[in-house]
C-alpha cells in the first residue's frame, strides 16, 4: 500500500509535466495562468502524498493548506492584472 | 561586559525608535539618530580601550557558547574598525544635518532608520565571529545601502539597481562558499572552523570553497573587473548616502577578507594560483581605476574611480603575503576610509552650494569656502600620499611589502596611481584656487558643516602621526606569527 502511495506521487509528478508544457509554451498568458493553477492543485495533493511517504503527514498538511491559499492568491493577482491591463496590452 | 554588543544595539534600537517617532513626533527623529550614533561611538571607544587593556573580547549572543551559538569576537583591529565606522558615520550624520532634515521631507524617519541600520550592519560585519551571521549582516548593510543610494533623482535608481544585482551575486557567492566550507567541516564558527581546517586534508574542494568565498567578497568589494557598480552608485546618489557609504562598504569587505585570511583560512587551503590572480587583479585595478578616474568629468565619479584603485591597493597588499604588506593593507583600510570620508564630506558641502560637481563649478572655492577646501586639500594630499598624512604611511607599508616580495609591477602601480592622483587633484586645486568664483556665487560655510569636516581632516594628520602607534597597538598583534 505504501508503494501505491509512492507510485501515486510519481504519477502525479508525471502528470504535472502536461500543464507545465501549457504554462511554458503558452500561447496566451491565460494559458500560463491556467497551467500554474493546475500545477498548484496537483502539488497540494503531492504534498500530502509526500507527507504520507515520510509518515509525518501531520507536519505536511499545514504546508498543503498554505500552498493552496497562496496559489489562489497568486492566480487571483495575475488575473487581476489581466483585468486591468490586459486590454491595453493586447491592443498594443 | 556588554560593551561588545552595546556598540551595535543603540543603532538598531535607534532605527526602530526612529520609525516610531517618525509617525508620531517627527521632530525627534534627527536627535534620535545623533544620540544613537553618539552612544555607539562612545561604546566603541570604551570597547577599544577595554580590548587594548584586556585583549580580545568575546560576547556570546543568546548565551550559547560557540560553536553552537553566535559570537561576537573583537580584537584590537576590529575594535579600531568599529570605532572608525561609527565615528565616520557620526561625522557624516552631523555634517549633513540640513540635508537629512529638509531633503527627505516625510521620509526623514525612514532615511535615518536606514542610515542607522546600514551602520549597524557594517559594524556587525566587523564584530561577528560566525560565517553565516556575517552573510546576514552583509545583507542588512547592503540592503539599506541600496535604498540610501537609490534614493535620488535621475540615474541614481539605475546605479543602485546595478549595485544591487552585483552585490547580491557577490553575497550569494560568499554564501555558497560558506556552504562548501560547511559541508567539509560542519561548522560555521570562525574560530572553530580555523581549528578544524588546520587538521582537515587539503583537497580540491577546500580550495574551491576558499576561492568561491574570496571571489564573492571581491565582487562585493568592487575589485577591478567587478567594479562597474561603484562609480555610478556613489556618483549619482545623494551626497549623504555617498559620504556615508563610500568610506565603509568596500573597506569593510576588505576587512572581512583580511580577517578570513589571517584568522580563519590556513595558508594551505588557499589555492596556489589565487594570490597571483589577486595580485594581478589588484594591480589591474590600480591602473584601470587611475586611468578611468583621469577620464571623468564629474568629480565625485572621479573619486569613486580612485576608490576602485584603492581597493586594488588593499587586495594587492593582503595577497603579497608578507607581514609588512599585510600591515599596509590593514592600515590602508583606516587610511582610505578617513580620506574618502574627508573628500566626500567636503564634496557634499560644495555640492550643496554649487550643484553639479564638474570642474567648472568649482571656481574660486578657496576664497568662498576656505575651511572646506582646506580639508579637501588634506584629504587629497592623503590620497596622493604626502607625509605626514595618513595615506602616506599605509602606502609606505604596501610599497615596502611589495619590495620585500619582489612585486615590482604592483609597486609601479602604486606610484603611478599616486602620480595620477596628483594630476587629478591639482586640476581641482588650480580651478578652485586661481579662478574667480563668478558674480552670482553666494557660498555659505556653516560651522555645523565645517566642524565634522575639520575633525575628519585633523584626524588624517593625527592618525598619520600616530600611525606607528596604530600599527603597534592595533595591527601588529593580530597578524599571525606564521606570516613573515
Amino acid at each position: 500500500m505504501e508503494s501505491f502511495i509512492l507510485y501515486l506521487g510519481i504519477v502525479l509528478m508525471g502528470i504535472m509535466v502536461l500543464p507545465l508544457y501549457r504554462a511554458v509554451v503558452g500561447p496566451t498568458t491565460l494559458d500560463r495562468l491556467m497551467g500554474m493553477n493546475a500545477i498548484g492543485s496537483k502539488t497540494v495533493a503531492l504534498i500530502v502524498i509526500i507527507g504520507l511517504v515520510f509518515d509525518r503527514v501531520d507536519m505536511f498538511v499545514d504546508i498543503a493548506l498554505a500552498y493552496a491559499m497562496l496559489n489562489f492568491i497568486a492566480v487571483l493577482a495575475a488575473s487581476r492584472y489581466l483585468h486591468k491591463r490586459g486590454r491595453r496590452d493586447t491592443a498594443s | 561586559m556588554h560593551d561588545v554588543v552595546l556598540t551595535i544595539l543603540p543603532l538598531l534600537f535607534g532605527s526602530f525608535l526612529a520609525i516610531l517617532a517618525g509617525w508620531t513626533r517627527s521632530a525627534l527623529v534627527y536627535p534620535l539618530g545623533v544620540v544613537a550614533l553618539a552612544l555607539s561611538t562612545g561604546f566603541c571607544v570604551k570597547l577599544l580601550l577595554g580590548v587594548l587593556s584586556t585583549g580580545t573580547a568575546t560576547y556570546l549572543l543568546g548565551g550559547w557558547s560557540p560553536p553552537w551559538g553566535i559570537v561576537f569576537v573583537i580584537d584590537t583591529f576590529s575594535a579600531g574598525m568599529m570605532l572608525l565606522i561609527s565615528g565616520s558615520a557620526l561625522l557624516t550624520y552631523l555634517a549633513f544635518r540640513a540635508e537629512i532634515i529638509e531633503g527627505f521631507a516625510e521620509k526623514t524617519a525612514a532615511f535615518v532608520a536606514l542610515l542607522l541600520l546600514t551602520v549597524a550592519g557594517h559594524m556587525g560585519i566587523v564584530a561577528t565571529g560566525d560565517l553565516f551571521n556575517l552573510y546576514v549582516l552583509i545583507e542588512v548593510a547592503a540592503l539599506s545601502g541600496y535604498a540610501l543610494l537609490g534614493y535620488g533623482s535621475g540615474r541614481a535608481p539605475l546605479a543602485s539597481l546595478n549595485y544591487l544585482c552585483v552585490g547580491s551575486v557577490g553575497a550569494s557567492l560568499y554564501l555558497l562558499g560558506v556552504g562548501y566550507l560547511y559541508i567539509l567541516t560542519g561548522t560555521l564558527n570562525m574560530a572553530d572552523l580555523a581549528q578544524i581546517m588546520l587538521a582537515a586534508p587539503v583537497t580540491a574542494s577546500l580550495h574551491g570553497a576558499v576561492a568561491v568565498i574570496l571571489f564573492g567578497l571581491w565582487v562585493k568589494m568592487a575589485l577591478f573587473p567587478f567594479h562597474g557598480w561603484l562609480p555610478g552608485a556613489y556618483a549619482m546618489s545623494s551626497p549623504v548616502a555617498a559620504a556615508l557609504l563610500a568610506p565603509l562598504t568596500t573597506k569593510v569587505m576588505v576587512y572581512v577578507v583580511i580577517r578570513l585570511l589571517i584568522g580563519v583560512i590556513p595558508g594551505a587551503a588557499i589555492p596556489e594560483a589565487l594570490p597571483d590572480v589577486a595580485m594581478l587583479l589588484g594591480t589591474a585595478a590600480i591602473f584601470a581605476g587611475s586611468l578611468m578616474a583621469y577620464r571623468q568629468i564629474d568629480q565625485r565619479r572621479m573619486i569613486a574611480y580612485i576608490l576602485v584603485a584603492e581597493v586594488g591597493y588593499m587586495v594587492g597588499g593582503m595577497f603579497i603575503g608578507n607581514r609588512t604588506a599585510m600591515t599596509g593593507a590593514m592600515l590602508h583600510i583606516f587610511a582610505d576610509a578617513l580620506m574618502t570620508l574627508t573628500l566626500f564630506l567636503a564634496l557634499g558641502s560644495i555640492a550643496r552650494q554649487r550643484g553639479e560637481m564638474v570642474l567648472a563649478n568649482m571656481r574660486g572655492l578657496f576664497r568662498t569656502m576656505p575651511f572646506t577646501m582646506a580639508a579637501f586639500v588634506l584629504g587629497a594630499m592623503s590620497m596622493i600620499g604626502v607625509p605626514p598624512l595618513f595615506g602616506f604611511f599605509s602606502k609606505w607599508y604596501l610599497l615596502s611589502g611589495a619590495l620585500e616580495s619582489g612585486q615590482y609591477l604592483f609597486m609601479v602601480g602604486l606610484l603611478v596611481s599616486s602620480l595620477v592622483n596628483v594630476v587629478l587633484f591639482f586640476r581641482i586645486f588650480e580651478t578652485a584656487f586661481f579662478d574667480e568664483p563668478g558674480e552670482s556665487v553666494r557660498d555659505i560655510e556653516h560651522w555645523s558643516r565645517v566642524t565634522p569636516l575639520a575633525v575628519a581632516a585633523v584626524l588624517l594628520i593625527v592618525a598619520g602621526l600616530s600611525s606607528g602607534l596604530i600599527v603597534d597597538r592595533l595591527i601588529a598583534g593580530i597578524i599571525p606569527a606564521s606570516l613573515i
Binding site: - | 604626502v386 609597486m411 599616486s418 602620480l419 606607528g468
Partner: protein, 487 residues
C-alpha cells in the same frame, strides 16, 4: 660630542608656521608684514641660539612621532643642517624686506597668500635642514613642493599656470616616482632611514642595486635640477622675483642640493661610495650639467632665465662637491650652498629691482642702466663676481675648496671642467655688467637722471652684496660648520 635632546629644533622649524595664522588673519598690510618680520627674526634667533653648541660639535635631537619602525619623524641639528638653516633663516629676513618693497611697488594681488605661503616654504626649508632621517626630509621636501606651487603660479594667468603645472609635475613626479621607492628600498635593506655618518656599510647592498638607488635619489631630488630634470626651473621664472629668489637662492633649489648632499654623505656614506666608485656617477652628472647649463645660459636673453640657467650650473657645483668624497670637496660643496645663496640672491634682487624700476626683463635692453641705477648695478657686479668666483667675494672660497678637492683625488678632468665652467660664468655675467656701465642706451629710457627702485628693494641687495664680500674675509661661521660637517 654629545646629543642634546631638546625641543629647540622643533620650535625653530615651527617658528615660520607660527606667523601663518597672523598673516592670514590680519587685515592691514602693515600688520601682515610685521608678522612676517617677527617670524623671520624669531627663526633667525632660534637658529642662532643653537649655533654655539653645534659649532662645539654637539647635535640637537627631537622626536616628534614614531611613525614607521626605524624612521620616526624627528629633528636633528648637526653642522651641515645648521649651515643650511643659517643661510635660509638669515636670508629670509632680507627677502622679507625685499618682498615688501617689491610687492608694494608692483602692487601685486593676493599678497596675503603670498606671504603666507612664503612662510610655509621657509618652514619646509628649515624642516629639511633639521631632519634627522630621510623620511622627515622627504616629508618637508614634499610639503615644500606643494607650498611653493601657489607662489610659482602667483600671477594666475595661463602662462604661470602652465609653469606651475610643469613645476609640480617635475618635482612631485620625481619625488613620488623616484625618491619614494628608493627610500622604501633603503628602509627595506637597512631597516632604518636615519642619517648616520657612515651611511650604508660596504657590502650591505649589492653594487647594482646601490647604483640604481643612487641614480633614483640623485635625479629624484629634482629640485637640485640636475640635467634631465632641470626643465621646471627656467619655466618657474614666471613667478614674481621674490619668489624666484626664494626658489633659487634660499629654499627650493638649495633644498634639492642639500638633499643630495645629505643622501651622499649620510645615507650612502662617503667611504662606501668611493669604494664602489659610485661617486663618479654623481660627479659625472654634475659635470655634464655644469657645462651644459652654462652654455645654455650664454644664449639666454631674459635676465631671469639667464640667472636660472646659471643656477642650474651652480647647483651642480654643490653636487660635484658631494661627489668628490674628499674632505675638501665636501667642504667646498657645503660652503657653496652658502656662498651661492648670498651671491645669487643678490643677483635676483637686482633683477627684481630693475624690473620694478624700469619694467625691463631682457638683457639686450639694459644698455647703460648702470648710470641710472648705480647702487643696484654695483650689487649686481659683486654678485656676479661671487658667482664667477673672483677673489674679494665669498664665491672664490667655495670654488677654491672644490678645486682642491678635485686635485686631491687627482681628477684633473673635473678640475678642468670646473675652471671651464667658471670661465663660462664670466662669459655670461660680465657682458651684462659691461652693457650696464659701458654701453650707451639705445633708447632714451635709461638715460635721464638716477632713478633707483624703492628703498626696500635696494637695501636688501646691498646687504647681501656686502655680506658676500665680508664672507670672503670672514667665512668662519659657515666654513667652520662646513668643515665640521665634512669631517
Amino acid at each position: 660630542m654629545y646629543s642634546i635632546y631638546s625641543i629647540q629644533p622643533f620650535l625653530a622649524v615651527a617658528a615660520p608656521l607660527a606667523a601663518v595664522p597672523g598673516i592670514l588673519s590680519s587685515r592691514s598690510p602693515n600688520i601682515r608684514e610685521a608678522w612676517s618680520f617677527a617670524a623671520a627674526l624669531l627663526l633667525l634667533g632660534l637658529v642662532a641660539c643653537m649655533v654655539p653648541a653645534v659649532v662645539a660639535g654637539h647635535t640637537y635631537t627631537w622626536v616628534v612621532a614614531n611613525v614607521l619602525p626605524g624612521a620616526p619623524i624627528a629633528f636633528r641639528v648637526d653642522a651641515f643642517g645648521m649651515l643650511f638653516a643659517l643661510v635660509a633663516s638669515s636670508l629670509w629676513v632680507v627677502t622679507t624686506l625685499y618682498s615688501i618693497g617689491y610687492m608694494r611697488s608692483k602692487n601685486e594681488h593676493a599678497q596675503t597668500r603670498f606671504f603666507g605661503y612664503f612662510a610655509v616654504s621657509i618652514f619646509c626649508a628649515v624642516g629639511v635642514a633639521f631632519s634627522a632621517n630621510l623620511l622627515t626630509m622627504y616629508l618637508f621636501y614634499e610639503l615644500l613642493s606643494f607650498s611653493t606651487y601657489p607662489l610659482v603660479a602667483h600671477h594666475q594667468n595661463e602662462e604661470s599656470r602652465k609653469a606651475g603645472r610643469k613645476y609640480l609635475g617635475f618635482i612631485v613626479g620625481t619625488s613620488i616616482g623616484l625618491v619614494l621607492p628608493a627610500m622604501v628600498a633603503v628602509h627595506h635593506f637597512m631597516g632604518t632611514l636615519d642619517f648616520a655618518a657612515g651611511g650604508i656599510p660596504l657590502g650591505a647592498i649589492d653594487p647594482t642595486t646601490m647604483t640604481v638607488l643612487l641614480c633614483l635619489l640623485l635625479f629624484g631630488f629634482a629640485k637640485a635640477a640636475l640635467m634631465p630634470v632641470h626643465v621646471w626651473l627656467p619655466a618657474a621664472m614666471v613667478a614674481p622675483t621674490p619668489v624666484s629668489s626664494l626658489l633659487h637662492a634660499v629654499a627650493v633649489v638649495k633644498v634639492g642640493a642639500f638633499c643630495i648632499m645629505r643622501v651622499v654623505t649620510d645615507v650612502f656614506g662617503v667611504e662606501t661610495l668611493s669604494a664602489l666608485h659610485l661617486n663618479d656617477v654623481v660627479t659625472g652628472a654634475a659635470a655634464v650639467t655644469m657645462l651644459a647649463a652654462s652654455l645654455i645660459a650664454l644664449s639666454q636673453d631674459g635676465l631671469k632665465r639667464r640667472l636660472a640657467f646659471s643656477t642650474i650650473g651652480q647647483l651642480s657645483y654643490i653636487v660635484l662637491g658631494a661627489g668628490l668624497v674628499t674632505a675638501a670637496g665636501l667642504t667646498g660643496g657645503m660652503l657653496h650652498i652658502a656662498m651661492h645663496a648670498f651671491g645669487k640672491i643678490t643677483l635676483f634682487f637686482c633683477a627684481g629691482a630693475i624690473y620694478v624700476a624700469t619694467g625691463e626683463k631682457y638683457i639686450s635692453r639694459l644698455n647703460g642702466i648702470g648710470y641710472r641705477m648705480p647702487w643696484t648695478m654695483t650689487a649686481f657686479l659683486i654678485g656676479s663676481l661671487s658667482i664667477i668666483g673672483i677673489p674679494p667675494t665669498g664665491g672664490f672660497l667655495s670654488k677654491w675648496y672644490l678645486l682642491n678637492g678635485c686635485i686631491d683625488t687627482g681628477q684633473w678632468l673635473l678640475a678642468l671642467t670646473l675652471l671651464a665652467s667658471s670661465l663660462l660664468n664670466a662669459a655670461y655675467f660680465l657682458p651684462i655688467v659691461y652693457r650696464a656701465w659701458f654701453c650707451t642706451p639705445d633708447q632714451a629710457q635709461h638715460a635721464g637722471p638716477m632713478r633707483e627702485a624703492p628703498l626696500a628693494c635696494i637695501v636688501p641687495p646691498l646687504i647681501t652684496a656686502t655680506i658676500t664680500v665680508i664672507l670672503f674675509f670672514y667665512p668662519y661661521p659657515f666654513l667652520n660648520l662646513a668643515r665640521l660637517a665634512a669631517n
